[in-house]
Symmetry: C2
Subunit: 304 residues, 2 copies
């Protein structure tokens, strides 16, 4: 979906259906204004296609805030979801893990964190094929005296739900794979994921600089190249290409604005897989299951 | 300060003055209860010594919450400081940086973040010898539409203060050294620092495992050993040994509970240096300077 002439020129002879859209949402535009105002943007057209059944999923590396706002506006939220989170699939020593929210949901209440946990659990079950994914809250320590007001209240609510809930984990545990689903607000999730990426990049840059200082180092680096390539593949954030927006009526995958072609390809694969697994229905069933055994956390918290 | 018999036995012939304390604060004790209740704990005795001028600084690898609560209770806070933060000195590609709060101050208001910025700036000036340390707020993106309610309000307040204030930085920028002082609440600071440490540890472990798989890899690793040792020294969190608690009337350095002997030695050196530089007075002067040009942020925010 987009500018038909530009896209057709890039497609060469490949046979793909192109849906024309005359407008574009800029990367710096206000998300809500763009989602509401630009009715013929590629993003909005694509979301409309999904809503009407003309497409099964949206994949976009555009303005992620506008994609989130547009998805809520066009596709609508699942019952019981106040704020759809973005779930990041990140590498751990024990295989891929899910961290959410990595999106724009800052200043979250306990009810939002509980919804993230339920959505993340159902998503991890579909993605990782685990019958009972382990769920944990990210906090500033593992003792229950730690955490914010919101995490302490979310802890109490999660303890009463039918989840394999493991309590608090701290930043040091993220890479260890001690849980399959790590829950936090979007401010913390963004800060933590980006600082881990930054640390890994800095580490590689420092190592390259150290190694280049001596002849022996350069020789050793050449010998190590296959090992380092395997290591990089294990830690590659592009392996899944994108991060799904959970809790809307349709599959929506958000890609980084600076995505490589391989990342976009993998994001399309991820979207296809989530469609085949009927993700939105799985998420809806999970929310209904939780609501059946406990008062709906959203309502309970709003009333307290 | 502590159990005289146990300490004397460990000192061998070294001539150090030992002050006896009959009680010990356990690592799992409630900080405030321990700080209030155990009046003959080594921690409390040591803080009393500083208050009365019998010692110049406290260095402890004990229960950090109890040390913070005890320092506030015994030494008192500097004027204009609502919640003393712990300042972490962490490695960046451009040399050491300061991140605060890494302590127990969660659920922070804008006025707290502004105080952290002022204290961190004065501390960075003393520690790093920079005339005008660059100060930034950690957020979930660099655009000013990002951040929480608290960071957006803190941004407005900081923009009017006589600081080299650079606005928002994101997690990816932490290792790049784009600012000398990074300000966030204690929940975020803890999560970010611990996840970066965890990422670095995991990276080293994965590299060791990859390298050990082949004979050539093992050979290369041996050749690289000096480079890796230099790299580890550059990234070593034990270089400063401890993290000072800023905003109390006296020098207090908090060490990790699992500190190595070298980390404790370096923490004592750091404390001695901060005493020689008159840190508490420098912090007090900074707060007074800020209060003179702008309404005191603590009061302004409390009223809003």
């Amino acid at each position: 979906v987009g500018d038909e002439r530009k896209i057709s020129a890039l497609l060469g002879g490949r046979r793909l259906e192109v849906v024309h859209a005359s407008e574009v949402v800029g990367m710096d535009e206000s998300p809500v204004a763009a989602a509401r105002g630009k009715r013929d943007s590629s993003m909005r057209r694509c979301l409309e296609l999904v809503r009407q059944g003309g497409a099964d999923a949206v994949v976009s590396a555009g303005n992620s805030g506008a994609l989130m706002a547009g998805a809520v506006l066009t596709l609508g939220r699942l019952p019981g979801v106040e704020r759809p989170p973005i779930a990041s699939i990140y590498p751990t020593l024990a295989g891929p893990g899910v961290l959410l929210d990595m999106g724009a949901n800052v200043d979250c209440r306990a009810s939002h964190l509980v919804q993230f946990a339920l959505l993340g659990e159902a998503f991890a079950r579909a993605l990782l094929g685990k019958a009972r994914p382990r769920v944990a809250l990210l906090a500033n320590g593992t003792e229950l005296t730690k955490g914010t007001e919101a995490t302490r209240e979310a802890h109490a609510l999660l303890s009463s739900l039918p989840l394999d809930y493991r309590g608090y984990l701290e930043g040091r545990d993220l890479f260890r794979g001690l849980a399959d689903v790590i829950v936090c607000d979007g401010f913390v999730g963004n800060a933590v994921l980006k600082s881990m990426e930054g640390a890994a990049e800095a580490f590689l840059a420092l190592m390259r600089a150290e190694v280049a200082r001596t002849l022996l180092g350069r020789l050793a680096a050449r010998l190590l190249r296959p090992s380092l390539q395997r290591l990089r593949a294990r830690l590659d954030y592009a392996e899944y290409g994108g991060a799904p927006l959970l809790g809307v009526r349709g599959v929506t995958v958000v890609c980084h604005g600076a995505s490589t072609p391989r990342a976009v390809e993998n994001a399309v694969r991820l979207a296809a897989r989530l469609v085949a697994q009927g993700l939105p229905r799985a998420l809806e069933a999970e929310l209904a299951r939780a609501a059946a055994v406990a008062p709906r956390p959203g309502n309970e918290t709003a009333a307290s």
